[in-house]
């Protein structure tokens, strides 16, 4: 079986001349949980956006499930996009709209235009929205305005919106960078669950290597727009770490229950499992 996603020699040069991606090739198999790491500006966001063409690659090819994404236009591109969910660092909810409306936005790619304009989602879509909101534990907030929710709750709405698409691939752009450590784990666990239970392939960019080790089945490191490492999380030793993050870097731990996680060490197994109990994951 061909890979679910294949990136071939992707180059992205922004109008200012910044070479954000410099010949990136990558193949992602079904069911993988790929974590993208790298410094700010290493090209993680650009790479994710080249996959669903929110950013237009300068050259190279993106092939998704045997379809050439880079060649797709108009309706064909939208049909591809609806099979890729995406969640964002800043959640990107319509803040003035209700949680339910935000979730329903995930169905737009399947919805006839008149339903959007009339504001009348189908019964099936409505029930799917309730089901997905219940799944991420915020059904009770369905009729609240999105900006009335906490950061972690808003990100869960973002996940529900993406799940509404019934995607084959989930793109997550720094999904926990705006969240506190405990909430971060909660959100990552939802991603882990949709990866395990629904078999949705996940490509997720993260700042913290500790989260990458904990949740990723594979780590891809970008440096200066090139792939600096591609392999299992365990393969990143001190030497590799300095290669990716620079000589002066010190690994930072992000864990629940720590007030100041800066410069802390990677927890031992016992510490990590003790910490797990502090994670607040609502019933689902």
């Amino acid at each position: 079986m061909p890979p679910l996603l294949s990136l071939e020699h992707i180059v992205k040069v922004y109008p200012g001349g910044t070479r954000a991606l410099d010949d990136v090739s990558l193949q992602v198999e079904r069911g993988e949980f790929v974590v993208l790491i790298g410094l700010s500006g290493s090209g993680k966001s650009t790479l994710l956006r080249c996959i669903n063409r929110l950013v237009e690659p300068t050259s190279g090819r993106v092939v998704f499930d045997r379809t050439d994404v880079t060649a797709a236009r108009g309706a064909e591109l939208r049909r591809i996009r609806r099979r890729m969910g995406m969640i964002f660092q800043q959640f990107n909810l319509v803040r003035r709209s209700s949680v339910l409306h935000n979730a329903l936005a995930g169905r737009l790619g399947y919805q006839p235009l008149w339903r959007t304009l009339a504001g009348r989602p189908s019964r099936v879509d409505l029930e799917l929205a309730f089901a997905n909101l219940e799944r991420v534990g915020i059904l009770g907030k369905a009729f609240s305005r999105a900006d009335a929710l906490s950061g972690g709750q808003q990100q869960r709405v973002g996940i529900a919106r993406a799940l509404m698409q019934r995607p084959d691939l989930m793109l997550a752009d720094e999904p926990v960078a705006s969240l506190d450590p405990a909430t971060s784990h909660s959100v990552m666990r939802y991603l882990e669950e949709i990866n395990h239970a629904d078999g949705i392939t996940v490509i997720c960019s993260l700042h913290f290597l500790s989260l990458a080790r904990r949740y990723g089945t594979r780590v891809v490191a970008l440096k200066g727009g090139r792939v600096a490492y591609d392999g299992p999380p365990a393969g990143i030793d001190d030497g590799r770490f300095r290669e990716i993050y620079g000589e002066d870097a010190v690994e930072v731990e992000i864990g629940p229950g720590q007030d100041a996680p800066l410069l802390a060490k990677v927890p031992t197994g016992a510490e990590a499992s003790a910490a797990e109990h502090l994670i607040d994951i609502p019933d689902r």
Binding site: H101, A105, L108
Partner: protein
């Protein structure tokens, strides 16, 4: 000054810390230039106060204008309907502004999307449309409302139609620009997210843009309605209808007590509009 800090360390001294005369030289030039412009202005405008007549002015203002003849507002003599009385004309003038504002919304609303950079960027053709629309708004705004009023009177002859035309035309330019800027100020994140779901352009606007602009649009519209109610009485001076026409006639006939009553009605109306529009906008935002 503290340039020593830099010289002591062998660092180049920033220009800002250079000799004091350099900054003061600029300052004195600016002051001298301003005074020179002012002097020339006073000279060529030739302000002549020798013909001022304070006693006459006091007699007119306090003796006649400030002793309003309320009949000018309420009297039903010589008029065909209640809308031709002073008060009736005040209501007509407000409605003139309301109708003109409504008409301008119909035009400004669709054009404002074409004049919003964040909606139109991404394609050279749409970007050209954006520039053209914004240029159009600017041209419309640069024609003073009284001039549009005069053109309206030429077009429709004296009366309310000219006033509606003047306010409506001018307001398309103002409201279009304000709407466009409101669209440009929205959060781009939801647009990106909704685009990523596979929605088409219209669905993106409907779902991610509209909810963000409804409140600012209402606030801006009320603000413009307030401004237009202010314009409407003045437009009567060029014949573009409303209570201003009657005020102008009374002033021409030196009927100051009648004019005083009308001016008072206008002041109260404008003040009330100002107050209510501020209250509503405060509650919205």
């Amino acid at each position: 000054m503290s340039a020593k800090y830099f010289t002591a360390r062998g660092l180049p001294v920033p220009a800002e810390l250079g000799p004091a005369w350099r900054t003061s030289w600029r300052r004195w030039t600016a002051i001298a230039a301003t005074l020179a412009v002012l002097a020339v202005g006073v000279r060529i405008t030739d302000i002549d106060t020798s013909r001022a007549n304070p006693e006459y002015a006091a007699q007119i203002v306090f003796g006649q204008l400030f002793r309003p003849d309320w009949n000018a507002l309420f009297s039903m003599e010589d008029v065909e309907s209640v809308w031709d009385t002073g008060l009736g004309l005040m209501v007509v003038t407000i409605m003139l502004a309301v109708v003109a504002t409504a008409a301008s919304i119909v035009l400004a609303l669709p054009f404002s999307f074409l004049g919003a950079r964040n909606i139109m960027s991404g394609h050279p053709v749409s970007l050209a449309v954006y520039s053209a629309v914004r240029l159009l708004f600017t041209i419309i705004r640069s024609i003073d409302i009284l001039i549009v009023g005069i053109i309206g009177v030429i077009l429709f002859s004296i009366g309310n139609a000219a006033g509606v035309f003047a306010i409506g035309f001018h307001n398309v330019g103002v409201l279009g620009k304000l709407y466009s800027e409101a669209i440009e100020n929205i959060d781009q994140g939801p647009i990106e997210a909704v685009t990523a779901t596979g929605a088409n352009r219209l669905q993106v606007i409907w779902t991610a843009v509209l909810p963000q602009i409804v409140t600012p649009f209402i606030a801006l519209t009320i603000y413009r309605l307030d401004a237009n109610v202010r314009f409407a009485p003045i437009l009567g001076f060029v014949g573009a209808g409303g209570i201003g026409l009657v005020l102008f006639q009374n002033l021409q006939l030196l009927r100051y007590p009648q004019a005083g009553a009308i001016i008072l009605a206008i002041v109260i109306t404008v003040a009330a509009m100002d107050f209510f529009s501020a209250q509503i906008r405060k509650r919205l935002l």
